[in-house]
């Protein structure tokens, strides 16, 4: 069984009588340790997909399984716990708490995990060392550059040692060079054995990952790297693209 399994997932919004299918009958597996990018044009449903994969949102139809947990049946608190222990998020707009300093921001997930104060501090420092920000502990987010803020966010995502890291346009607000530094970090995380899922509309960034899932109008048009093409589980995912590839 794959780490993440989506079966016939749809997300439908109703806006003034009009029906918006942000996701339309998506089925998808992501295995443990994979480095995946989700790519597609603006409004295609990438973020929606990521939110559902990351237990931030629940589908209108279909089933989602994360590490054996039936997401659509879980309570809000159970999902919070899953996000806390198994998932780390990195957002385009960093999403740090402005009133907390760098260490406190990184400690935040551990507070909800119930980690003791001293251990919290220790783990936060480790995570910050890893993103090379061990020297800016007492700064507020507003006193950091965009790249630094994003590194703090990555440290925060890592600090509870989650199995899966989601990143929604993590380089979208950064210059090319800084973006590359951040991408290198993700590559390293993947090499450490974590499952990393990168959302982007930029093909150059998507090119970094071995597997790319392309989304258009809420449907999957997966472009599969040659060396993964033969895997059974991809044949099993009944997407139109896969069907075409199989034919």
């Amino acid at each position: 069984m794959a780490l993440l399994e989506l079966r016939n997932v749809s997300k439908i919004y109703h806006l003034g009588g009009e029906e918006i299918r942000a996701l339309d009958d998506v089925s998808l597996d992501i295995g443990a340790g994979e480095f995946v990018s989700i790519i597609g044009p603006s409004g295609s449903g990438k973020s929606t997909l990521m939110h559902i994969l990351g237990c931030l949102d629940t589908p209108s139809h279909g089933t989602v399984t994360l590490d054996g947990i039936q997401v659509e049946k879980a309570s809000a608190s159970e999902l919070a716990r899953v996000r806390n222990r198994k998932i780390g998020f990195v957002f385009q707009f960093f999403n740090l708490l402005p009133k907390l300093n760098v260490v406190q921001n990184v400690e935040l997930p551990m507070i909800y995990a119930g980690v003791s104060g001293s251990q919290r501090r220790e783990q936060a420092l480790q995570a910050l060392e890893m993103v090379e920000l061990g020297n800016r502990l007492k700064n507020r987010p507003s006193q950091l550059s965009g790249g630094q803020q994003q590194r703090v966010a990555i440290a925060r995502a890592l600090v509870n040692n989650p199995r899966i890291i989601f990143a929604d346009e993590p380089t979208g607000n950064l210059d090319t060079h800084t973006g590359e530094v951040i991408l290198a970090l993700f590559r390293r995380l993947s090499q450490e054995g974590r499952t990393v899922i990168l959302v982007t509309h930029n093909p150059e960034i998507a090119a970094v990952t071995p597997r790319r899932i392309e989304i258009r109008n809420g449907r999957i048009a997966e472009k599969v790297d040659a060396r993964l093409a033969g895997l059974d589980r991809l044949a099993a995912s009944a997407t139109p693209a896969a069907a075409v590839a199989g034919a």
């Binding site: 939110h51 931030l56 949102d57 809000a76 608190s77 919070a80 716990r81 996000r83 806390n84 222990r85 998020f89 957002f91 999403n95 740090l96 708490l97 402005p98 009133k99 935040l108 997930p109 507070i111 909800y112 995990a113 119930g114 980690v115 003791s116 104060g117 925060r156 509870n160």
Partner: protein, 455 residues
């Protein structure tokens, strides 16, 4: 952990919006001030009452007073004998429920003098030795009257320290304590020899202050040198009951009668009536019975004319208790309203605050905060605002009570009690928690994804 963290966040929120927070806390501050202030005033009243009660002779003392004869006995008014020694003897003989009887003959408007010094105020009374136990006097120097003094109507007096202060000088002014035994003073021009002096009666408050002043003097602090401590109203804050007690001049009852009343001051007719006859009951639990017994005995000696009445200290206590209840009610009412208004203010500000922080709450949820986590967090923040307001209220009430003390000096110096403070802060915390419930529920229910998208 979350609790501690939420407290810190709550304090930061207050600090981040100082003016807004202060305005929000106004209701709580006011509520706490009125709660603590009112409790302090009541405590002061209680203290004053208790001390005064003891200074005046304790709760088991009953005053017998002259009263107008009832309307249906109007035609007998001329024959009303008034309270006399006949009653005293009758009670002593026939009323076993009465333990102590103390006849008094007050001399109003007498002039107390010694040389060119005079005391403008005095409580000059002719008494029996039973007055000592009746009014809870402590004789510190000399002796009290004996039977010979009484029988021969000797011109002797026992005085309080207030009279000594007026006629011989205060210890604080002359530098040493004068005990004027054997000295002669003039009462309306008649010479009297001082044979005894009572101890100085002071209230608890004053005793404390003096002890402190003494300590400071011993430590050589400069305050003592700055002159006498503030004196207020009735001389000092020890209370009028003590003050009056110190201005006592007792002489034998017979002396008062022979030297001042038998000549019939004013009317020319000798006046055998006592001005007061105080009694003490044998058993406090049988107060009613004792009074009934005394009434029966006295109706006999007064030939059925009810020209007297009894006044227990209990009546007074009841009166004061009623006042205290009223004060408590109105204080509680004001405090209740203020706390309610404060609570609504806090709820309002918390709603505004979570609306400002939708995104932050979304971030917390994204990294793993559960609904109950957020609920608790907001609730604690709300309680923190209230408690900080409550603590500020304590400071304000401290100033308030000090102000009352300065503005209306009296025997009832308001006293802040720890209990009242604890209750007040507890109440503000409660108000904060209750006010926080609605905003907390609202925040807990935010969907993480909508909160993250919120602009």
């Amino acid at each position: 952990m979350i609790i501690l963290n939420s407290i810190v966040i709550g304090l930061k929120e207050i600090w981040a919006h100082k003016v807004r927070s202060l305005l929000t806390m106004m209701g709580i501050i006011l509520g706490v001030t009125s709660l603590v202030g009112m409790a302090a005033i009541i405590k002061g009243m209680e203290n004053g009452m208790k001390e005064a009660m003891i200074a005046m002779g304790g709760v088991d003392k009953v005053l017998t007073r002259d009263q107008q004869v009832p309307a249906w006995q109007d035609h007998l008014a001329d024959q009303a004998p008034g309270i006399t020694l006949v009653d005293v003897h009758a009670l002593k003989r026939s009323a076993p429920l009465i333990r102590l009887v103390s006849p008094e003959m007050s001399l109003d408007d007498v002039t107390i003098s010694r040389g060119d010094k005079r005391s403008d105020y005095s409580e000059c009374v002719g008494v029996w030795p039973s007055v000592l136990e009746m009014n809870l006097h402590t004789l510190e120097h000399g002796r009290f009257f004996n039977d010979l003094d009484e029988e021969q109507a000797r011109p002797v007096v026992v005085i309080g320290t207030g009279i000594r202060d007026e006629l011989f000088g205060k210890p604080s002014e002359v530098g040493r304590e004068i005990v004027p035994l054997g000295e002669t003073i003039q009462i309306d021009g008649q010479p009297f020899v001082i044979v005894g002096m009572f101890q100085e009666y002071i209230g608890e408050q004053e005793a404390k202050e003096r002890a402190r002043a003494k300590l400071e003097a011993a430590q050589g602090t400069s305050k003592a040198a700055a002159g006498p401590k503030r004196q207020r109203g009735w001389g000092r804050r020890g209370g009028w009951a003590f003050w009056r007690k110190n201005y006592t001049i007792y002489m034998p009852l017979n002396t008062a009668w022979v030297r001042f009343r038998s000549a019939g001051r004013g009317t020319g007719i000798p006046d055998p009536r006592l001005t007061d006859m105080d009694i003490k009951v044998a058993d406090f639990g049988r107060m009613e019975d004792a009074i009934q017994q005394a009434r029966n005995v006295m109706l006999l000696t007064h030939q059925g004319i009810e020209d007297f009445t009894f006044e227990t200290q209990e009546n007074q206590i009841e009166n004061i208790n009623k006042q205290i209840r009223n004060a408590r009610m109105s204080g509680g009412f004001i405090a209740g309203i203020s706390l309610l208004v404060g609570g609504i203010g806090i709820m309002n500000i918390m709603l505004a605050s979570i609306n400002e922080r939708v995104r932050e709450i979304g971030i917390c949820k994204a990294v793993g905060a559960t609904g109950p986590n957020i609920f608790l967090q907001i609730l604690i923040e709300s309680a923190v605002i209230a408690v900080v307001g409550g603590l500020m209220g304590l400071v304000v009430s401290e100033l308030f009570v000090e102000l009352i003390g300065v503005l209306t000096p009296s025997q009832n110096t308001p006293m802040i009690t720890r209990e009242a403070e604890a209750v007040a802060v507890g109440f503000s915390a409660l108000v904060g928690v209750i006010a926080g419930i609605l905003p907390a529920i609202k925040a807990a229910r935010f969907s993480p994804i909508e909160a993250l998208r919120y602009e």
